[in-house]
């Protein structure tokens, strides 16, 4: 306590030096006066009294100095002194300082921005109570385990070949909640696919939604901002329908009004009471970045999503489970304590499936062998669902590596600048050393300067990061609406990162120059025109830095080249249909309560209304858009497959998969996909007429090689052989993405596949001009059919295709930006080193020229010196890039991120090496020109 107060007092003394010095002066003056008066009273003469007073006081200045030293904090005072001096030095050399600060700003800013994304995507914990005690449930099943209907992520664990499944059936939740073992409780939550149609205050829109168990908020320890959270009482049959909304939705839909709580809202036509608003920043426990604005109890899921419910019959595996560990319990204990309950629930689900299959007359489902049961696995649950996070991790770490390299190049640059400047300051150091400054004191001075530089770079870097974060690194650029809910923030965590980064970069680039340049040999340094003895080692270090800068920037440039080529390749992929002048939007009338029999009419009416819009050339619709990563596959059974024996599950092995596209009859014409043989789909191909399909060339080649496919038959269902007749063959067109191989594709009429289209369709509107100009007219036309029908995802086909390439675009853009940046920094570094070398060799060059060397020769000599550095760097960079990229290609998904280009693409390597050579040649040319202007007379006289 007292120590702290003392420290504070002393610290205060540092800043109020002037006032306190005045106080001390006055106190001493009074003292001397009093002594003088007493001396006079004793009979001394005034002059004698004054002198005696001073004598008995002792040395006034010594006392003051001692007093001051005790009063203040010498460390702080000298640091302040260092800082003032450092600031003066930096301001004096504005050019160098500006270049150094700019380098650091770019380096630190890029790292800060990327860290904010990494933090939000990978590192941050959920804003809930004690997130470290939460566990996320997974199950590990042998590859032959078939859960029946499944909705969630399912990855194959490469090491064991097992399926890792994220979702569970409601039986598992109930069973484990009843016997939670080493957990205090278990809760569950699941997506409501397609969201909910919310109508309130006379408006309708579609909101992302989830269904949760009643104890969801209690287990997490999340208290609502307004109203109340859902409870177990809400999650049982017969309870009143209640819903909770997110803070975001509350702001955006209800204007943040307190009266929102208690309001009646319609969710898919069912009346709910809005009972609460969750706090800001709590985005639920689902995949990071997903927007789940409306939350309802699981008990109400069947009434709200009706036919699509995942709770009816045996039920779908769709619930994610999170539990909270009892104090002191480990995840392994919890897992062991739940294993039995889980196993029983799987058996229970199996029995329910068997009963369901029997009731519907389907084929029998066998019992599970003991070895076929899935096993439970508990992961840390403090970040909620992890699949999305994990899928982004490799790209993020790759980019983090890239910006790390940029920072290294920037550091090398600043180190080089400091070295050059330190060389020019040899005399100053020598003077200070001669006046008694220790080497450590000098090093401290120089480090203070570097830290000041890096602090300035860090502060400006935050601004740069802000710009990057809202622009190039904005969430939209990461691709996919799935991340819309993610908002990386520059919060204290990010600032702490930036501060730490600035500090360590300051030390990193500052210490070597400081160490080198304070090794002062006094005598020669002080001599007129003297050059410090550390010149040789200085240039050695400087050259090493330049070589590594060149090498690192070549590495980045090669990376940029690979991704730019990938992007160019993907953009020039021929999709097989005309992407220009095509406007897309989604319509989901079913959310408004349209039943299947009326949907057909609505879909048709919208299309017909759109066709009347002037300038619209064709209107079609399909179950999903093209080039949007949407994929729907079906098993295809040829006759041969049906004669083979069924497997243990009682399933008949299909001939293979086919991608299915349910479309309006005019789809091929509207999309400009050529018909190669047979006929297209017709309105007459409806639910009452025989099933027909148009297949693409790949399908024909795959399943009917060497045969004329038109008139051939296949089946989607092994119990209905030969059901579908191929009536036409269409040209190949890309389906889910530009990158994926064109799959065997079947186009079937929407009239024969209405059940597959009830949850909405994508309209494709072919326009005469820029499709963006038609948005308002299209909205108007749709409103004419149903005013309550929201248009979703309005975009052009080209925008859609670009969105699918988001990750490639992001990498190409960032790597190009950073590669060019690094190259610029390297050029500046090289320029500095060469300029310095020329200055050092002025005398030598003068002698050479006096002895008859031509200017050309001098120019060549200097350029050769510069280029030897560059070429060393380029050779190192080429070898390094090859080794590193090959390693990354084999260890990460880098190879899959590239398209049409190998990691060792010779074209990219050569082009980038030449580009870098040219840039560095330019950087050397300026100092070399200066060397040729050396006047031999002046150069020699100078010595």
């Amino acid at each position: 306590m007292t120590r702290a107060i003392t420290l504070l007092r002393r610290l205060r003394a540092v800043f109020f030096k002037g006032v306190l010095d005045g106080d001390l002066d006055e106190e001493i003056r009074t003292h001397l006066e009093m002594q003088r008066e007493e001396n006079e009273r004793r009979g001394m003469s005034p002059e004698e009294a004054r002198r005696a007073a001073l004598r008995s006081f002792g040395g006034v200045e010594q006392v003051k100095e001692k007093y001051r030293r005790r009063r203040g904090l010498p460390v702080v005072e000298t640091t302040l002194q260092d800082l003032r001096y450092a600031a003066r030095m930096l301001l004096k050399h504005k050019g160098t300082t500006a270049v150094a600060v700019l380098s650091l700003t770019l380096g630190i800013g890029a790292n800060t921005a990327l860290f904010s994304v990494v933090d939000a995507m990978l590192l941050k914990m959920l804003p809930v109570e004690e997130p470290e005690n939460l566990v996320l449930f997974k199950s590990l099943a042998p590859p032959r385990f078939n859960p029946g209907s499944y909705n969630g992520t399912s990855d194959t664990d490469l090491a064991t070949g097992q399926q890792v499944m994220s979702s569970f059936p409601h039986q598992s939740f109930r069973s484990m909640r009843e016997r939670p073992g080493a957990l205090t409780d278990v809760m569950s939550f699941g997506y409501i696919s397609g969201g909910l149609n919310v109508s309130a205050d006379g408006r309708a829109d579609v909101a992302g939604a989830q269904a949760v168990s009643g104890n969801y908020y209690e287990v997490l320890g999340v208290r609502p901002l307004l109203g109340r959270a859902l409870t177990d009482g809400d999650d049982r049959a017969g309870a009143d329908p209640v819903a909770v909304i997110s803070h975001r939705y509350w702001q955006q839909r209800f204007g943040g009004a307190g009266s929102a709580v208690g309001k009646q809202i319609n969710l898919n036509g069912v009346a709910f009471t809005l009972v609460g608003v969750t706090p800001q920043g709590f985005e639920g426990t689902m995949d990071v970045g997903s927007i789940l604005d409306v939350t309802i109890p699981i008990a109400w899921e069947p009434q709200v999503v009706k036919a699509r419910s995942r709770m009816t019959g045996a039920g779908v595996w769709w619930l994610r489970l999170i539990g909270r560990l009892k104090p002191g319990a480990t995840r392994e204990q919890a897992r062991a304590s739940l294993e039995n309950a889980f196993r029983q629930s799987v058996a229970e689900h199996r029995v329910a499936r068997q009963a369901q299959a029997q009731a519907s007359g389907g084929s029998a489902i066998g019992d599970l062998e003991p070895g076929d049961y899935p096993r439970l696995a508990l992961d840390p649950g403090g970040q909620g669902e992890m699949s999305t996070r994990r899928s982004y991790a490799p790209s993020l770490y790759l980019l983090l590596g890239v910006v790390g390299l940029v920072l290294l190049v920037a550091c090398a640059n600043v180190a080089n600048l400091l070295l050059s400047r330190a060389a020019a300051r040899q005399k100053e150091f020598a003077v200070r050393a001669a006046l008694g400054a220790g080497r450590l004191r000098l090093i401290r001075q120089l480090l203070t300067e570097s830290l000041l530089l890096s602090a300035a770079g860090g502060a400006l870097g935050v601004l740069f990061a802000l710009w990057l974060k809202n622009g190039l690194l904005a969430v939209g650029e990461w691709g996919g609406g799935g991340l819309r809910g993610l908002e990386p923030k520059l919060d204290w965590r990010v600032f702490a990162f930036t501060a730490g980064l600035s500090l360590s970069t300051g030390i990193l680039f500052g210490s070597a120059p400081a160490w080198r340049s304070t090794r002062v040999d006094l005598t020669p340094a002080l001599k007129e025109g003297g050059r410090g003895s550390s010149v040789a080692s200085r240039s050695w270090l400087g050259r090493g830095l330049v070589v590594s800068q060149v090498a690192l920037s070549l590495l980045l440039l090669i990376g940029a080249g690979l991704f730019v080529r990938t992007l160019v390749n993907l953009r020039s992929v021929e999709p097989g249909f005309n992407t220009r002048n095509l406007l897309l939007f989604n319509a989901q009338p079913a959310l408004l309560g349209y039943k299947e029999e009326r949907l057909e009419g609505v879909y048709r009416q919208i299309a017909e209304r759109l066709e009347t819009v002037p300038g619209v050339r064709a209107v079609t619709f399909s179950s999903s858009p093209l080039l949007a990563r949407h994929r729907s596959t079906r098993s295809v059974y040829l006759r041969g497959a049906l004669t083979a024996a069924p497997d243990a599950e009682g399933r008949v092995k299909p001939s293979g998969p086919g991608h299915i596209h349910q479309v309006r009859e005019n789809f091929l014409e509207a999309m400009e996909i050529p018909l190669l043989a047979g006929r297209g789909l017709r309105p007459q191909d409806d639910a009452r007429s025989p099933r027909v399909a148009v297949v693409n060339q790949t399908f024909a080649d795959e399943y009917f090689p060497g045969e004329y496919p038109v008139g051939k038959r296949f089946a989607f269902d092994h119990k209905k052989p030969d059901e579908v007749e191929i009536v036409g063959v269409a040209g190949d067109a890309k389906y889910s993405s530009q990158r994926a191989e064109i799959p065997p594709t079947m186009y079937v009429s929407w009239r024969q596949e209405l059940p597959g289209m009830v949850w909405g369709v994508t309209y494709e509107v072919r326009t005469a001009g820029d499709p963006k100009g038609f948005v308002a007219a299209v909205r108007e036309a749709v409103r004419g059919v149903d005013g309550g029908l929201p248009l979703d995802n309005v975009k052009t086909q080209i925008e859609q295709a670009d969105e699918t390439l988001a990750r490639e675009r992001l990498f190409a853009k960032l790597l190009t930006l950073f590669g060019l940046l690094a190259q610029l920094l390297a050029a500046i570094g090289l320029f500095g080193v060469m300029a310095y070398a020329v200055a050092q060799r002025t005398r030598e060059i003068g002698i050479r020229m006096a002895l008859g060397a031509s200017r050309r020769r001098v120019l060549r000599m200097v350029l050769r010196q510069g280029m030897s550095l560059t070429l060393t760097g380029i050779a190192t960079g080429l070898a390094g890039a090859y080794l590193l990229l090959r390693y990354l290609g084999s260890r990460t998904d880098l190879s899959e991120m590239l398209y049409g280009v190998e990691v060792a693409d010779p074209f990219v390597y050569v082009v980038m090496a030449i580009l870098l050579t040219l840039v560095t040649l330019a950087a050397c040319y300026v100092p070399a020109r200066r060397a040729t202007r050396v006047n031999p007379l002046v150069a020699l006289r100078n010595e």
């Binding site: 106190e27 003292h31 010594q62």
Partner: protein
């Protein structure tokens, strides 16, 4: 310079200042210095100025407080007073000092006999 004068032993100046303030109450720097000289019977070689860093130290430790006031003949002077913590400290120091001198005294006596 009179040769009989002793230098101030390290650490004893603080003790003397505390004792002075404890005995006389509120006092300015000059008063403290004069009092120490008088009490030591002018046997002590005291540079009066050295009490100021010492006073600062005692104040930093919280053993004394200071405030500006008017002296007898209306001069602005800084007055020092001992705090409760200072009195405790003084008691402890006095005890230490007594013990130390007793030990040294005993040592000197016995050493005279035995060695």
């Amino acid at each position: 310079m009179p040769e009989s004068k002793n230098d101030v032993l390290p650490g004893t100046l603080n003790l003397m200042i505390l004792k002075t303030l404890a005995a006389l109450g509120r006092l300015h720097g000059y008063g403290v210095a004069r009092r120490i000289e008088q009490t030591s019977g002018d046997l002590l070689q005291l540079n009066q100025g050295t009490i100021y860093p010492a006073l600062l130290h005692l104040e930093q430790m919280g053993w004394i407080t200071s405030e500006w006031g008017a002296s007898d003949n209306n001069r602005r002077a800084k007055f020092y007073a001992i705090t409760r913590a200072g009195r405790r400290r003084l008691a402890a120091e006095e005890e230490n000092w007594r013990r130390a001198t007793a030990i040294v005294a005993r040592f000197l006596e016995s050493a005279g006999e035995g060695l």
